[in-house]
Amino acid sequence: MDAALIPDGLKRTSPGKFFLWTLPWLGLLAWGGISAVLCLLLGLNQTNMSNIFAFALWIVFDLVVIALGAGAFFTGFLTYIIGKKELKDIINATVVIGFICYSGAVAMLGIDIGQPVRGWFIFWHANVHSMLTEVSFCITAYLAVLGIEYLPILLENRKLREVREFRIFGHNLHHIMAVFAATGVFLSFFHQGSLGGMFGVMYARPFAARWDFYIWPTTFFLFVFSAIAAGPCFTILCTKLTEAISRKKLVPDGTIQLLAKISGWLLAGYLVLKIIDTLGWVHGVVPGAGLTFMDFFREGPYGAWLLGLEIIICGIIPVIILITPQARQNHGLLILACLLNCTGIVLNRFNFIVVNLAIPVMPFARFWSYLPTWQEWGIALAVVGYGMLLFSASHRYLPLFPREKELNAAVSR
């Protein structure tokens, strides 16, 4: 039925099977759609957010998908600017993942703000001293860049390639891709940082507050570092998932190993900085606010174990696996390390958002609990559904993995 759209010489499943595959994701989108309509019509009282939990599940999700989408800018940086040629086998996939993550995050933010119609005020009435302003500007601009990077991949579609204008335009875009990649790296670097800065600058919230390094708090650098350490691992996971589902080899092992190695060393560097930062915070910022580290966990389900889980289980273990060549060549261990790495970043963002807000600062303020409503889950999971759909469709109709044909010919031989 859609055979004319499928890239030349590549095997894809039947349209019926593909349709069945899309059903759960369409279901998630429908759930998200209903939730979005409810939130936009009736207001944010549809959520369980409150004056205490001003940021909640959505912001955690936003920060997580943006951090995981960092694979796009960092792989682009390595491919186009450092010149790691092996990574060109995976760059298309990272661009699509990045585009999904960023567009999903922007859509969620549009529902998260109390007055979506006034969203443009951030741009027009910008307060340049706010980290959130920097985040908004850079995310929007970078989403545009990702759109431009996605465009030539889209124009590779067999039917679209038949149009000569599209073909030449795509070709020309490819030629100057390094310019877009460089701009993307600049924009992405700054908003990944500002997302961290958002929390480090809350100087009246001792759980998040950090010192300033020049004009940025240390979390600025830690968030950039952790995002580029986890982004490539998320790319590996997405690729491996696609390989498992389509039962094909899509990316050469060398490329995956290179990404895993880079990710491992970055994560190791990040952990060193994170541990220094945490120790400095425990002995500097925290006592300065009249608290001890354990004072943060007097009430509620959160505890110091969250930090231990983040740094030791989801930090040091994946580092050991990823930087040991024998370990990361083991398929199961590689997947485990990537999963742990990505979980670590989820925990890190969760700690800075939900745990930070849950901890009362005034000695007589009480602890409040928070659990998301189905509407909040709906909108968050709709991003997953949307991502699955867009990535599946991109894989089906576009030559996302340039060496797919070659690798699978070798396997069948």
Binding site: G43, L44, N45, M49, S50, N51, I52, F53, A54, F55, D112, I113, G114, Q115, R118, G119, F121, I122, H125, A126, N127, H129, S130, M131, L132, T133, S136, M198, V201, M202, Y203, A204, R205, P206, P287, G288, A289, G290, L291, T292, D295, N356, L357, V361, M362, P363, F364, A365, W368
Partner: protein, 263 residues
């Protein structure tokens, strides 16, 4: 951020030893400032109270039990105001001529970053349609609303404004009478006016003739979470050591004896 010292610095001193926890300040504030009230206000995480009353106890068993109250308006932090520096849309502002931290409701986009940044929970989000869009509009409600204050729409953050409209009113009158300076009694907030025990004093902290300027320098004066360095313009007074200790976090090795001179 640029921080020049303005001429006036309005502030408040609340004597906790005089406060009886009656809640009149909360009621006066809500009614003065058109704060929306819903039929069901049981969800305290979402109700709006510009002036919030906290009850504290010394935690001791019955005969030694002592209770005190902490009325908490917005602290109007003077130093790098946590909420002002984070607002992406410039919807909140600190006026260095008066020291008042204001909120522009029609500019606020409802991102709630300011709420996350404020350690005092002094900022409130409109989770529901407020008086502006309440359906059906209760009969006679318009007669209760103050025409000087705009009602807030859903999805924006609001906070104590030190009854800024009263300042405007006083200024207008002074101007009409050919004066450039306000008398101490001409501008006070609704909570200070309503307090039956006169626990709340309001005035210009920069003006040595004002009572607040004198009270804020008392040896018994302290502020909420002073260690964070937000420089609140709301001072509290208490002679009781345990009350003073409740205002900030202290490490086990830190003790703040009553009478210690504040710098």
């Amino acid at each position: 951020m640029k921080q020049e010292e303005g001429k006036h610095k309005y502030g408040m001193v609340i004597d906790l030893d005089k406060c009886i926890g009656c809640g009149t300040c909360m009621v006066a504030c809500a009614s003065e400032n058109n704060v929306s009230v819903r039929t069901d206000e049981s969800d305290k995480e979402r109700s709006i109270a510009w002036m919030q009353l906290f009850k504290i106890t010394n935690g001791k068993p019955f005969p030694q039990t002592e209770v005190s109250y902490f009325p908490r308006p917005c602290m109007h932090c003077h130093n790098n105001t946590p909420c002002v520096s984070v607002c992406p849309a410039s919807a909140t502002h600190m006026d260095y001529h008066t020291g008042i931290v204001s909120q522009i409701y029609t500019r606020c986009i409802g991102c709630r970053y300011c709420q996350a940044a404020c350690p005092y929970h002094a900022r409130y989000f409109n989770w529901y349609d407020g008086y502006a869009f309440i359906q059906p509009f209760p009969k006679g409600l318009e007669r209760q609303l103050s025409p000087e204050i705009s009602v807030r729409m859903r999805g924006v953050v609001e906070k104590c404004s030190f009854c800024h409209h009263r300042l405007m009113r006083a200024r207008t009158r002074a101007y009409a009478e050919g004066r450039r300076e306000l008398e101490e009694h001409e501008y006070i907030t609704a909570c200070a006016e309503a307090c039956p025990t006169q626990a709340i004093t309001f005035g210009d902290l920069n003006n040595p003739k004002h009572k607040v300027a004198r009270l804020s320098k008392s040896v018994y004066a302290f502020r909420l979470l002073e260690k964070l360095g937000t420089e609140p313009k709301v001072y509290y007074l208490s002679t009781r050591n345990w009350v003073r200790r409740m205002a900030d976090n202290y490490r086990p090795d830190q003790l703040e004896p009553v009478g210690a001179v504040k710098t």
